[in-house]
């Protein structure tokens, strides 16, 4: 029975192969096939308008039945000082604790009854409050968002209660060693500058931030020119603009004493921070050099370079057939549990690095091969590496935008970083323009013979001395 099925199957297969028609062979026979290039060009355009007070509105109409709408603000831990570091994070906690019009219960009921999700995040340079809801509930969503942002109750009682929640969260984040490691990396790489501040803030501030601090924070940073109302899904741009005019026209655009907070450049210090604890089972280590800012033309070659190094997890099944050389080594020599190449870019600087998790006997080897991978990028990267990386990068860029929320987030961040949404077609063109020589030059500019910042948490006795790691940032053979 099985044999006859196989025979029939193979005959059909051979017949199809002979026919050589892609349509016949594709799984979606009968539907029109669209090429990658066509789909890029056919993507809906992101429309951008600005209100009189400077607030920008951007949206992409994707035709989904749901939508994500939110406010992206150019405000984060980088704008905080030592004294109020953690205010943004605290504020995020306070955001959903009730407004002047709705108590916490009422607010929650409003949101739940729509079947919506209301959430927020704070990062070093951006803060976002957004809601995922049905497309038809857009007006209500915008109304609630404007309330949450502009007329937050900030009651003393809630503030006191949230203190312990924030402290508890500070305690819990210690368990997420990736966050600890990367926070420490920022703290040492940008030491003495606002970028070194962690988003969460020190526990001392969590205990002492007052209502006045939070109010001052809102007053100095939540200004219309620094905000973007972004939406993606089944929304029309005109409707959104109307709603924005209705709810957000009142957002202030003037600063007190004309004290416009200007971001000064942040000095990068090649340095290291070692948090050794031999009781932990795994070591989490990150090494980074100063990278490119978000708007720099070097971003795309660096993204391609990172795709060449790629990422790896011990659960990957590729083994010695993984495309990234470092991943192959990691798999064959059991060098690590996971690694990823990352590039965090901010408005005028960035961190380009590799983060890996390994056990205490393979730290030296893993660090050696990671830096070796960097050196290869600077010197011997080949056409085939680039071709593979470009494809992987394009695939990941497209794959990341798989829902209204990622798209909305993309819109919000792009408008804040670049002033416009960079469409996939443009990314595609810029990625295609990358050549091996360009990658080598750009990587040499950022990586070769530069002092790295290293942060390490866990049983890190085997981590080489800083001078050894610094010496591995160049090759004598070149």
């Amino acid at each position: 029975m099985a044999a006859s099925v196989c025979r029939v199957g193979s005959t059909v297969g051979r017949a199809l192969a002979k026919a050589r028609s892609p349509i016949l062979l594709s799984l979606r026979r009968g539907q029109a096939t669209v090429t990658y290039a066509q789909s890029l060009l056919g993507a809906p355009e992101t429309r951008l308008t600005a209100l009189d007070n400077g607030l920008r509105i951007a949206s992409e109409e994707t035709g989904h039945g749901t939508c994500t709408v939110g406010l992206w603000i150019n405000c984060g831990s980088r704008y905080e000082t030592e004294k109020n570091n953690g205010a943004g994070f605290f504020l995020e906690h306070m955001a959903f604790k009730g407004t002047k019009k709705h108590s916490q219960m009422a607010l929650e009921q409003q949101v739940e009854s729509m079947g919506a999700h209301l959430s927020a995040y704070t990062s070093r340079e951006h803060t976002a409050y957004y809601m995922k809801t049905l497309a038809k509930d857009l007006p209500k969503a915008v109304a609630l968002l404007s309330e949450v942002l502009q007329s937050n109750a900030l009651s003393e009682a809630d503030i006191e209660q949230q203190r312990s929640v924030v402290l508890k969260e500070l305690e819990e984040v210690e368990g997420s060693l990736q966050d600890v490691c990367l926070d420490l990396l920022h703290a040492t790489a940008f030491q003495g500058t606002p970028l070194g501040h962690s988003v969460l803030g020190p526990s001392q501030n969590a205990r002492t931030l007052s209502r006045q601090d939070l109010v001052d924070f809102i007053r100095s940073h939540y200004k219309a020119p620094r905000m973007v109302l972004a939406a993606a899904g089944g929304v029309t741009h005109e409707e959104l603009v109307e709603l924005a005019k209705q709810h957000f026209s009142g957002v202030s655009f003037e600063y007190e004493d004309d004290a416009v907070p200007v971001l000064s450049p942040c000095r990068f210090s090649g340095s290291e921070i070692r948090m050794r604890d031999d009781d932990m089972p795994l070591a989490h280590i990150a090494i980074a050099v100063e990278g490119a800012s978000a708007a720099s033309p070097d971003i795309v070659p660096l993204m391609v370079a990172n795709s060449i190094i790629g990422s790896y997890d011990i659960t990957f099944g590729g083994g010695k057939h993984l495309s990234s050389r470092l991943a192959r080594l990691a798999s064959e020599e059991s060098l690590c549990h996971s690694f990823q190449a990352f590039h965090s870019s901010y408005s005028d600087t960035g961190l380009l690095g590799i983060y890996f998790v390994t056990d205490k006997h393979h730290i030296d080897d893993m660090m050696h091969w990671s830096q070796n991978a960097w050196m290869n990028l600077c010197t011997t990267v080949t056409e085939s590496d680039i071709a593979r990386a470009k494809n992987a990068l394009k695939a990941s860029l497209v794959g990341q935008l798989n829902g209204t929320t990622p798209i909305c987030d993309d819109i919000g961040r792009h408008v804040l970083n670049y002033g416009r949404r960079i469409p996939l077609a443009e990314w595609d063109v810029r990625i295609n323009a990358v050549t091996p020589k360009m990658v080598r030059d750009v990587c040499s500019k950022y990586i070769y013979d530069k002092c790295p910042a290293v942060s390490a948490v866990g049983p890190i006795e085997q981590l080489p001395d800083y001078n050894r790691m610094r010496s591995a940032m160049y090759w004598l053979r070149f």
Partner: protein, 258 residues
């Protein structure tokens, strides 16, 4: 445990350190404990400890965000003191300076090492007294005309003969064709008045006798080699003329041989 530490005074840091270590091993015993590996998890069982301990010297740290990176301004180069200035601009000049200093030090170091090594190795070469033995200084005023004096030099006899005018003329007139080892007298002396040769017969190494033989020079008694006043072999079994060593006249009266 903490109160015990407080009462113990001087021992308290050690006791507190023990406190922390004990927490580390105890946490495995606590049921349902903790996904993270943080010390905090076990300490969270004792709530008062958290609020009391943050700034205490032996206390348990609350969060990684409390870690303050120290201010390293005392150690920074001047271009990097300002945290508001990007470090990229000065990066070239800083690296160049470091590499130049390192390079110069390396070059100086190599030469120093070479000097030290040479000094140690050359200490194994001939010492001063041995070197001194290799030269001999002779006062020529003490040798009367027509006389030959013998000196011990480098373990061999050295003949210095103060030649008369007649001897000089005779030797210079000798025909090359008659010599077994043809050498003109001019080629064997720097100053014709003095003939300096090593007194070892070129036949089998005996010491010739001065003012003997048929040619007015030296005669080797062992096998009958006759040398003339220029030390050239004239008759007998010796194949070569007497060897002329390196010498120089430091002044008219003194010669240094060797």
């Amino acid at each position: 445990m903490l109160s015990l530490a407080a009462r113990s005074g001087a021992l308290s840091p050690y006791l507190q350190a023990t406190n922390v270590a004990v927490n580390g091993s105890l946490k495995a015993l606590l049921p349902g404990a903790v996904k993270g590996d943080s010390l905090l998890k076990s300490s969270s069982q004792k709530a008062p400890a958290i609020s009391a301990c943050v700034s205490a010297p032996g206390g348990i740290r609350m969060a990684h965000t409390d870690i303050k990176v120290p201010d390293f301004s005392d150690y920074r180069r001047p271009e990097l003191l300002d945290p508001k200035k990007s470090s990229q601009e000065s990066s070239e000049s800083r690296k160049t300076f470091s590499y130049l200093v390192t390079g110069a030090t390396a070059v100086v170091g190599v030469y120093t090492a070479k000097t030290v090594a040479t000094q140690f190795i050359s200490s194994m070469s001939a010492s001063a007294d041995v070197l001194a033995m290799s030269k001999i200084e002779v006062k020529l005023g003490e040798i009367p005309e027509g006389k030959n004096m013998t000196f011990k030099w480098r373990g061999k006899p050295l003949f210095i003969r103060h030649r008369t005018e007649k001897e000089i003329a005779t030797e210079e007139a000798v025909d090359m064709a008659m010599l077994r080892d043809p050498q003109h007298d001019k080629d064997r002396v720097a100053n014709p008045k003095w003939i300096i040769v090593i007194g070892v017969c070129t036949h089998l190494g005996c010491v010739p006798i001065a003012n003997a033989g048929d040619y007015g020079g030296y005669y080797c008694p062992c096998h009958g080699s006759h040398y003339d006043a220029s030390g050239r072999i004239r008759k007998g079994p010796a194949p070569l003329n007497l060897e002329v060593p390196y010498y120089e006249f430091t002044d008219d009266d003194t010669v240094v041989v060797g």
